[in-house]
Subunit: 492 residues, 2 copies
């Protein structure tokens, strides 16, 4: 590398980037962290100049109001580059936690928690072909002081030196110490740290470019599977004691929720009155969530023709249209296909106080994608733990997570399919795919059982709704949703 | 105990309480925690009935808006019973952390952090003669379910059983598991846990009363000193790497702050203009703190006649009177004397966005109380770490902590004393005590050096101000205060 002259190096880098952009086989993230006065801004500007601008994004993050109103990792998930692109993050997700610890804004345990989360985040990215290159720019304490003094006396650079720089200099020793621990805890085979001594900017740039060039052209490293344990054995990946006892999905079982016992259909008049009451209660509860800034994330899954749409409609009728949004989840768009699979759910998280309703959800990963073979086995197996961590992030932020599974018996489904086929204004709701899915009923049941036993967690349990009686099912959804909100609203 | 009949037991308890109330030698806190459906409310009501009401306070805490706007431990500090009194806390400081962990609202590290804080809190209380009795009411899972069902079918009790109870029942296994870890981590010699099986309320009550009676009548257990290490060796008790290099207080040194270099006095006109600018800047900065809800705690210490009052006055002139408060700290009041020593500072913490200015501070513990012998050596030695933890709690809550030491040379002090003695309208500012303190100049210097080297921390460093030139000193205070606020306001 050192043998090449600047022009050749620059061309080689650009070529590697453009080839990756064409292949769209991975994305590359460069994290530039390090001490103050190590030329970070010079380097980032130079890199930005050398790389193809249209395929590069630079982020020096000061979180916006938008970011702050959502779970912590939202701010990074929304900025993950699509495959084919390069993202440069100044300090990345390391600055926050490092300086918070140095300044005693967080304690030892919270520091460790965040480093664990970072590892999980980077592992998830690596599994989805995002290569993370991490650079730590090092410098000695005396050299840092000398450089700051030197910059300050040069009129061309003096404006760059703020109180903040001197504050970081005063914090040199703890920064050095916590940064070492931080790097040690997050140094993985698929996302290792590279320490670069602070010489001239051009020497530093050479080293960074060599790393970047490797990342752009070499195959992406695959994270080691968590060795030994099969996904069946690992009950709940977040914490085994937080997983509720597994339940098999049988429709008898599905109807066990409060208010839906008994076999006879609910008369229309009784239904109307109960519906009005439940919706009024929901409207009231959501106003309280809005006041308290509690975000609500609702996931609806279910068999075809179980009436997800109808139930969601009964929920939204009670909500203020300004504060909720329904997302119908279908196959990913072209844009979404170039991103890690969870990206399309992260991007739709509601801000504090709002409601996001998902009609089909991230559980597609372990249901349709598994059964239809759209996801490789290793990918959907990993899905259980990725889903639990995703939901865990929502809970840590204080969100209410409601998950409803609308179940139907095989007989009742057939009746509804036939009814749809024979009713002109309902025919559009019945597709060939519905019949195909029905043929795989047993495969789906197996996938459902696995889903329930791996993702029925303490913080985000499944609500099973028997929908053989539609009216009863709708009341049951509303009732359980109200319970969820009220229990949370009772917590100070 | 079991041999006595109820009346005798009741009399013995009351007698022990009244004797303690008379002695005022300690306070007793009873924490009643445990599973749902273990008669907590019955027991607490019964206890309250048996104890002397005027000397007992029961707290079943749902934190108020007032509580939430202040550092976490404020809500408990303000409720610590004075010596001679009994405080009963339902769940106490254990409910928060336990249920937050069970519901995955916090992670493993944050759980450990909080348990460490609990140990520190209880140790601080124990050192100041507050005895903490902790009871865990245990019950089996099946028995809990049976009891809830039973209560629900009895019209007299059905209203007591809420969704919340059933939710706690559904969480039985993780509650059991995390509660065990929690008790193990907070079981100390001076504040041990007592597990009480859930039999009839009267059996449970007997056990609690036996514990309470011991606590009321036996000498308070003294926490073991952190063995081995002397306070001189233990640089900074929070984290040794967070303590800045020790600095000796010499007046030459004290003047090293920005803007106060050079020897000549500042002309009045220059001073007025600089003062106006700095105050305008401060007014602007504080409005931003108010908007962002950042609380500001300012501590002023200094030699007699160094001009603390004058400097504070220049600060408050710039602030909106609705949002700051100045506290002149003198000897504790009668009420304060019955409390742990830090209580009188905790009670004065500002709510978010406000400013509290302390004219003399909690550092009195390691200055005047040390030099004058008002505090035992073991007490002021412990003071360094208690102070650091106190300030650490403020930082964790997001407060700005500014500490200003206004220093003066011995010669300049003499000049000012004489000037005061000879100026009729200033004579009241000079007391015999000032002359006495001056005679102990060297003892105070030693105490100051120790204070600086043990409490000059990363998150809350001391600002040393040379006040031989009063104008320069005032500008310097304002300038450094502005820097402090701006550095913090830059942080997202």
């Amino acid at each position: 590398m050192t043998g090449l002259d600047e022009k050749a190096r620059r061309y080689a880098l650009l070529k590697a980037q453009l080839e990756m952009a064409q292949r769209e086989d991975k994305a590359v993230i460069l994290v530039v962290a390090g001490h103050a006065a190590t030329h970070k801004s010079v380097l980032v500007n130079q890199l930005n100049h050398w790389l193809e601008n249209r395929q590069t994004e630079v982020h020096a993050l000061a979180p916006s109001e938008e970011d702050r109103l959502r779970p912590y990792w939202w701010r990074y998930w929304r900025r993950v580059p699509a495959r084919g692109r390069v993202g440069v993050f100044v300090h990345g997700w390391y600055g926050d936690v490092l300086y918070a610890r140095v300044e005693q804004r967080i304690q030892a345990g919270a520091f460790t928690d965040r480093l664990d989360e970072i590892n999980r985040f980077e592992t998830t990215l690596a599994h989805d072909s995002v290569v993370v290159v991490k650079v730590w720019l090092d410098i000695g304490e005396a050299q840092q002081a000398a450089r700051l003094h030197h910059l300050q006396t040069d009129p061309a650079y003096a404006w760059q030196v703020s109180d903040r720089h001197w504050q970081r200099h005063a914090q040199y020793a703890p920064i050095q110490q916590y940064a070492e621990r931080m790097r040690a805890a997050t140094h993985t085979a698929h996302a290792p740290w590279h320490c670069i001594a602070s010489e001239t900017p051009s020497q530093q740039l050479n080293e960074i470019i060599a790393l970047l060039q490797d990342a752009l052209s070499q195959p992406a490293p695959v994270p080691a599977a968590s060795a030994g344990q099969s996904w069946q054995a690992a009950r709940n990946p977040v914490r085994s004691d937080n997983c509720l006892p597994p339940r098999r999905l049988a429709v008898d079982d599905a109807g066990a929720s409060k208010g839906s016992a008994g076999g006879s259909k609910i008369p229309k008049k009784v239904y109307r009155q109960a519906l009005d009451e439940l919706q009024a209660r929901l409207a009231h509860n959501h106003r309280r969530c809005l006041q308290r800034g509690i975000p609500v994330v609702l996931a609806f899954e279910g068999h075809d023709a179980a009436g997800k749409g109808g139930s969601i409609h009964r929920v939204t009728t009670a909500l203020d249209a300004r504060y909720y949004r329904v997302y119908s989840v279908a196959a990913p768009t072209d844009e979404e296909r170039l991103q890690p699979w969870l990206w399309r759910f992260w991007r739709r998280l509601p801000q504090d106080g709002r409601v996001a309703i998902f009609d089909r959800t991230w559980y597609g990963r372990v249901l349709v994608e598994r059964v239809e073979g759209f996801a490789r086995q290793s990918a959907w197996e990993r899905g259980f733990s990725e889903i639990c961590h995703f939901e865990h992030q929502l809970l840590l932020h204080g969100a209410i997570v409601g998950k409803f599974f609308l179940a139907i018996s095989k007989d009742e489904q057939l009746k509804r399919f036939n009814a749809r086929a024979n009713t002109p204004h309902k025919q559009h709701k019945l597709t060939d795919e519905d019949w195909r899915n029905r043929q795989r009923w047993n495969d789906y049941q197996q996938a459902l059982d696995d889903m329930l036993s791996h993702t029925h967690t303490q913080g985000a349990p499944w609500q099973l709704i028997n929908t053989d009686d539609k009216r009863r099912a709708r009341l049951s959804v509303l009732n359980q949703l109200n319970d969820l909100l009220e229990i949370r609203l009772e917590t100070p």
